[in-house]
Symmetry: C2
Subunit: 407 residues, 2 copies
């Protein structure tokens, strides 16, 4: 049996729905991979009685609880006081924590408000968790069955504190059997296409198969139990990857993290030292926007009307063949540009088809690279926003395939 873990989020802004609690999900993902069974998430507002009752409930129910929020300097930050009441621990002044807070303000040339003094009061006997990313220190305390850790609610403080101050101590405190998560990231295949392609692969019952489809990629996830052999794991991953072919743009896990498609393309373009110019139609600037700050992206143009673009580039030949048109545009654009590669994206369909989520449009992508043209045709459906996003990613994916073949 895995040890059980709960999360607990404090904040009126969470229970009133003004802020979506992303901390619970983030912490739970970490906890599952570490080998915990996550059993419950709870969020409560700033009523002391509710907080006290909840802490007492959890202390008899879970082995571990990670609590976020309510450690700030204002009167509605009640977590520490609730811990004192719930577990019968008086609050004591922590001189070291206070000195760190004074230093935090001194570094910023700001006077420390008197209200912050409260943040240096910690429950007697608690383990202080220093906050290198903000003012409020966290703390940890055992009560009844449960080991509680209290962290600030701001994700930019909470996440590094969990990773650096809590995570390394958990294997000492709990008997954990961490599993290994391998994620195959694909583009251009739906979840059901993937299921069909891998249906012939025999997956042992101990390996958990899951899918996660987002706008940007489909992830095929394999969760291997702690005692699974590395050779067998690698063999199974290879069997799953094989029928997915070059739709797989990255395999993450077991120490390898490649990021999203844009990060993969960015690394490849930088490695090969090439530059790019782009004509966007359906993606309407999104392709450029996703590649923010990339040195290799020299220019992009969005044109609402392809006829208008043609006349600016002095192209006189028109015609019905959109792939041929895209090639002519790419050639014309390269003449006026010093970019190594040119990527042109055209589409068949009108404005109504573009905006109607029940109608599809056909994308014609052309990459003009060192050995001539690479082309790809795709049918995309869904809302205008979904079509825009798919168009940006599928154009970048043509570039990714070319660069991975070169490598």
């Amino acid at each position: 049996m895995n040890p059980t873990l709960e999360t607990f989020s404090q904040g009126e802004e969470i229970v009133t729905g003004h802020v979506i609690d992303t901390n619970a999900a983030w912490l739970s993902q970490q906890a599952v991979q570490l080998g915990f069974s996550v059993t419950r998430h709870t969020a409560v507002g700033d009523k002391l009685d509710d907080l006290v009752a909840l802490l007492q409930e959890i202390s008899t129910r879970a082995d571990c609880c990670i609590c976020t929020g309510g450690l700030g300097p204002t009167t509605d930050d009640l977590t520490t006081e609730a811990v004192a009441h719930a577990f019968g621990l008086p609050l004591v002044f922590d001189a070291f924590a206070f000195a760190r807070m004074q230093q935090f303000f001194a570094n910023r040339n700001k006077p420390m408000p008197e209200a912050n003094r409260k943040q240096a009061m910690l429950p007697e006997g608690a383990l202080r968790l220093d906050n290198d990313w903000g003012t409020a220190p966290g703390f940890a305390v055992q009560h009844q069955r449960c080991w509680f850790a209290f962290l600030p609610g701001v994700p930019s403080e909470m996440r590094p504190m969990f990773l650096e101050k809590i995570l390394p101590t958990l294997p000492r405190r709990f008997s954990l059997k961490p599993s290994t998560l391998i994620t195959l990231k694909t583009i251009g295949l739906g979840e059901s296409d993937i299921q069909q392609r891998i249906s012939a692969v025999a997956i042992p019952a101990t390996v958990q198969l899951g899918f996660r489809a987002s706008l940007n990629e489909v992830q095929t996830k394999l969760l291997f139990p702690n005692n699974y052999s590395i050779t067998d794991r690698q063999s199974l991953v290879a069997q799953i990857a094989e029928p997915l072919g070059d739709h797989v743009f990255a395999i993450d896990g077991a120490g390898n993290q490649s990021g999203d498609l844009v990060a993969v393309v960015d690394a490849l373009m930088t490695q090969h030292g090439k530059t790019l110019a782009v004509v966007e139609t359906v993606s309407q600037g999104l392709l450029a926007g996703l590649c923010l700050g990339a040195d290799w992206l020299l220019e992009t143009r969005y044109e609402q009307s392809v006829g208008r673009l043609r006349s600016k580039l002095n192209i006189t030949v028109a015609g019905d063949d959109l792939m041929a048109q895209a090639q002519i545009i790419a050639t014309a654009l390269q003449q006026g540009s010093d970019a190594d590669y040119v990527l042109v994206q055209l589409y068949a369909g009108d404005k109504n088809q573009f905006n109607d989520r029940n109608q599809a449009i056909v994308l014609y992508n052309v990459l003009l690279a060192e050995n001539g043209f690479k082309t790809a045709t795709h049918t995309v459906a869904g809302s205008g926003k979904r079509k825009q996003n798919q168009a940006a990613l599928l154009a970048l994916d043509l570039l990714r395939r070319h660069l991975q073949q070169k490598a």
Copy 2:
């Protein structure tokens, strides 16, 4: 005292952190505006004992509970069974619900899987909530102190079911005093700037003032109690709006919903029948991408190097004055374009300053419109992504100010 409401989300994908629970926040926002006090959010996985215990807890603690998820056809969808156990209600076959589900599949020319039959089993005496957006019917049941409503977890089914099947019945079931929320949406002012500007306005203690800063706008929120007079409300809103000046791009609430800055600009451009061409630098395609599908946006260009752009436009004059440069570029671009307006965005700073979250850059925005140039200068800081976003919005905001002055 307002009646209390809790949310309860069922799903292993939620407690393991694979899906962020957005239903709890959405339902809570609705509930607060209706006049409930939201006291707690809970999420649990697919263990029957946990579900039963939670339902029993809530039935003695809250006046109303909206539950989402666990109504699907598979074996890990346990909510209905948990209700039966927790409240001692046998499950009975609902012939009407079953006929609707058969019709749902018939409309899609698909056979109904045998597993779906389970979704027509409802707790004895429960009120069936028909689902016009999917297969699983919801239901509602009173137990002890609490009125429970059970809805599917998919937001695209849950939200319309809440709005159409539950919301209209709540005033009959609870003594609710709905408040009125007015939101002033601004761009170009920080939260503390706003607080300082409105500090002289006397806000009655019964009106709740709040702020919400996102990447795209800062919202100043005023929550008026049920018995507040409309005249007094309008007068207070006007007093708050006055010192914020034309930073306010929309005032929402009490029946008026203008959407975000892009929606406001879109409505104004359509109303005035004007067209636009844009040069993006810092925003790098994002401005175009945000205006997805706008008929009035004829073209945008992103250029990494302004020198490169100048040479393409045959501009020979360079110089240190970026605002003057932007005006020359706008004029040159208009000559080759049939757009009514041209918007050009340049910036002072290098790549390092752009990427460093601790360094600021200065934006120079120029709008070439019917009566010559409008200009605006802004200092923006933060991560590259934040600078990109601010640059896109501040350029659009120059256009918004021009159009609102014309109107």
